[in-house]
């Protein structure tokens, strides 16, 4: 489906008209309180989908209508600009102005590809990289888009596995790390998984489009799909998995640093069980000393001590999924409509809405 930018503008204008009527018009400058600090996709009560800008007070400052369900977004490293991606197997990504939420460009996945919901800018923001499925070949691939030319597709390369999902960049470098979830799907059969018996996920590191390192989980864990990533200042990768077997699981998250083995994060088996084999989002804390993971199915957040690689605390929140680290701790979203500031394991601020927040929330600027 090719999306018409004009329709999105109209949707936004209608929303802004409502906002203006209430005296809550978005401000024109980056620094103003009216501009968002966070972005998250959501479903509205009428079943339609939007991308929302959220400010520090947990107020929704803009909503942009999306053609179908969104997933994650990624912020431009220097400009007030972000890209929001369709949920797998969607084919659109929307580039927006983060100051007022104006849609700037829509990009569409080329024929025979769909987006997998995540993307990443290069260090200098010359390029945008998108995780994609070359579905007729059953091959994971990374799309390369020229940002300055207006997000023009210029290249693609193999992702190093099947079903690439999250993608991150190591700090101060152009080394990319990709979570190849290992699961083969084809849009003809929707989201049905086609290769569970033989799936084998990996983490693949790339520099200049070439594989420089690939790590996998132990063979007996081959049904643990590595999906979501977070990277700390030291370049360590934290990853969360989604399990495709009925086996007893000892850990659903791990740590990896280049050139080393994977280390799994430990928790008592009863607490691991409560995650129901499913991590929806993962993030390092701002100082990198903690790793927080969310399980919407289990309705629980686990916070791990990075150095000890052990569970430190947990908080139960129904259908919790989106999480982003900040100076105060974490901002968390839930499918039941909650936006929650969590600090030292305690709820500091909470806002309720009728929006059902989607899997990921991202920060578009420091707050």
């Amino acid at each position: 489906m090719v999306i018409n930018l004009k329709q999105l503008y109209q949707g936004r204008r209608q929303f802004l008209a409502g906002v203006l009527a209430t005296g809550l018009a978005p401000s024109p400058t980056w620094a103003d309180a009216g501009s968002p600090a966070f972005l998250s996709a959501a479903a509205k009560p009428d079943g339609t989908y939007v991308l929302c800008g959220i400010n520090q007070n947990l107020e929704v400052v803009f909503q942009i209508k999306l053609p179908s369900r969104g997933h994650a977004a990624v912020a431009h490293p220097t400009q007030p600009e972000a890209v929001a991606f369709a949920r797998r197997p969607g084919t659109f990504a929307l580039i927006i102005d983060c100051i007022d939420g104006a849609p700037k460009t829509i990009i569409n996945a080329p024929s025979g590809r769909h987006f997998n919901g995540h993307g990443m800018y290069s260090l200098g923001a010359e390029f945008l990289f998108t995780t994609e499925n070359d579905y007729d070949a059953g091959r994971g691939c990374i799309g390369v888009w020229d940002v300055k030319a207006g997000y023009v597709r210029i290249d693609e390369f193999d992702s190093g596995g099947i079903g690439p999902h999250d993608i991150k960049r190591l700090p101060n470098s152009d080394i990319l790390v990709i979570a190849n979830g290992g699961i083969d799907t084809h849009p003809d059969s929707g989201r049905i998984k086609l290769n569970i018996p033989t799936m084998w996920p990996n983490l693949t590191y790339f520099e200049h489009g070439l594989v420089i390192e690939k790590v996998t989980l132990r063979p007996e864990m081959h049904k643990n799909s590595i999906r979501h990533l977070s990277v700390n200042q030291m370049g360590a990768i934290a990853f969360g998995v989604q399990v495709q077997s009925d086996d007893t699981i000892s850990s659903l998250a791990g740590l990896h640093s280049r050139g080393q083995e994977i280390n799994l994060l430990e928790a008592p088996s009863d607490e691991i069980r409560k995650l129901k084999g499913y991590i929806g989002s993962i993030t390092f804390s701002r100082d990198g000393q903690e790793i927080a993971v969310t399980s919407p199915i289990g309705g629980v957040i686990h916070v791990y001590d990075t150095a000890k690689k052990k569970l430190k605390s947990l908080t139960e929140i129904p259908d919790v999924c989106g999480i982003v680290a900040n100076d105060f701790g974490y901002l968390i979203t839930s499918g039941t409509g909650d936006l929650i500031k969590l600090s030292k394991n305690r709820v500091r601020m909470k806002a309720r809405s009728t929006l059902r927040w989607d899997n990921h929330i991202i920060a578009v600027r420091d707050v």
């Binding site: 949920r87 059953g138 049905i192 086609l194 018996p197 009925d246 919407p296 199915i297 499918g335």
Partner: protein, 338 residues
């Protein structure tokens, strides 16, 4: 007065007894829905072994009927994808489908061309790729015209018998595991067991009805439908044996049975869901299109899409109405992972 008191106590007692608890629902589902179906699968799979021993030629009606019966038994449990079917890839070893990458025909052709001796050892055969085993592989071997012409019929006879034996072995393992082990796990939840509570066990059963409807809609109907511009009739399940619509019917019939057991205490919802299943089955019957070849013609395609939509409507009712009632509400993000 005493009589009146007793009457009230009786009334309260009977009011409680007619509202099934989570435990009672799970017990009914396990004993009347799950166990008999897996038992039947093992029984008809054994008959498939005898039929293959009797006459292993691809043209044999006895063999074709035995395969159909065993395959039917599989379709009727194909939504119950947890526990015993998921151990050692047993479910996939019986049914590797959708096979979008065409692994089964490729692997089967290779076995036949090389006259691979793996067919002579049940143990070795049980180690080959799941895509080369099970009902779909056997159906391919019997009905595919290219494979019919390939290689020696003696070897293909051995292959048919190896497939039948392997299907029986796997089906029996699943059935035994259900009867001797897994039923108990669902029925006796505890803090140290697989299921903490009977509500958690109920949630597992609920997931299987949601997943089963999704599979029938997205794979059994969605694959041949493809897109309007590019319909894919040859992607239909069992199209070679004219079994595509038949499989949808069996799947819906089994899911209907499960839905009725899950809605025992909600007569209104039970009636509506029952009507919805009936409607889907009638729409399917009216297609008179056993292998969904009609996906390529706009008019007949529309009718197949209507069947698919009617199944999606059942899914929506189950997720949005039955789920919350049973206390197994599946959240926005929890529903269908990513």
């Amino acid at each position: 007065m005493k009589k009146l008191m007793l009457f009230f106590i009786y009334m309260i007692g009977s009011a409680i007894s007619v509202v099934p608890t989570d435990q009672a629902i799970v017990e009914d589902v396990v004993e009347a829905h799950i166990l008999p179906r897996f038992k039947a699968l093992a029984v008809v799979s054994e008959k498939l072994v005898y039929a293959a021993e009797d006459d292993c030629s691809a043209k044999s009606l006895t063999l074709r009927n035995a395969l159909r019966n065993a395959f039917d038994a599989w379709i009727s449990v194909s939504h119950l994808r947890f526990g015993p079917t998921e151990k050692e890839n047993r479910g996939f070893a019986l049914a590797f489908w959708p096979d979008i990458r065409g692994s089964a025909p490729r692997n089967l052709a290779r076995l036949i061309t090389n006259q691979d001796t793996v067919v002579f050892s049940p143990i070795e055969f049980s180690k080959i790729s799941v895509a080369t085993r099970g009902f779909y592989a056997m159906e391919f071997l019997i009905y595919d015209q290219k494979l019919n012409k390939l290689g020696s019929s003696d070897y293909k006879c051995q292959l048919v018998q190896a497939l039948a034996g392997d299907i029986f072995e796997t089906s029996t393992k699943i059935s035994d595991d259900w009867h001797n082990n897994y039923a108990k796990l669902l029925l006796e939840p505890s803090a140290s067991s697989t299921y903490y509570s009977s509500n958690e066990a109920l949630r597992e059963v609920f997931k299987s009805i949601v997943g089963g409807l999704q599979f029938t809609s997205q794979a059994r109907l969605g694959l041949p439908l493809g897109t309007f511009e590019r319909p894919r009739p040859k992607k239909a399940e069992s199209w070679r044996s004219n079994g595509s619509a038949h499989n949808v019917k069996l799947s819906l019939t089994s899911l209907h049975d499960l839905a009725m057991r899950l809605t025992l205490q909600y007569p209104g919802l039970k009636k509506r869901l029952g009507d919805s299943f009936d409607r889907s089955l009638i729409l399917l019957e009216n297609l008179k299109d056993p292998n969904f070849s009609g996906v390529s013609e706009p008019q007949s395609r529309l009718k197949i899409e209507v069947v698919q939509q009617s199944i999606d409507d059942i899914s929506a009712t189950i997720k949005n109405e039955l789920g919350p009632k049973l206390g197994v509400f599946v959240g926005f993000n929890a529903l269908d992972g990513d």
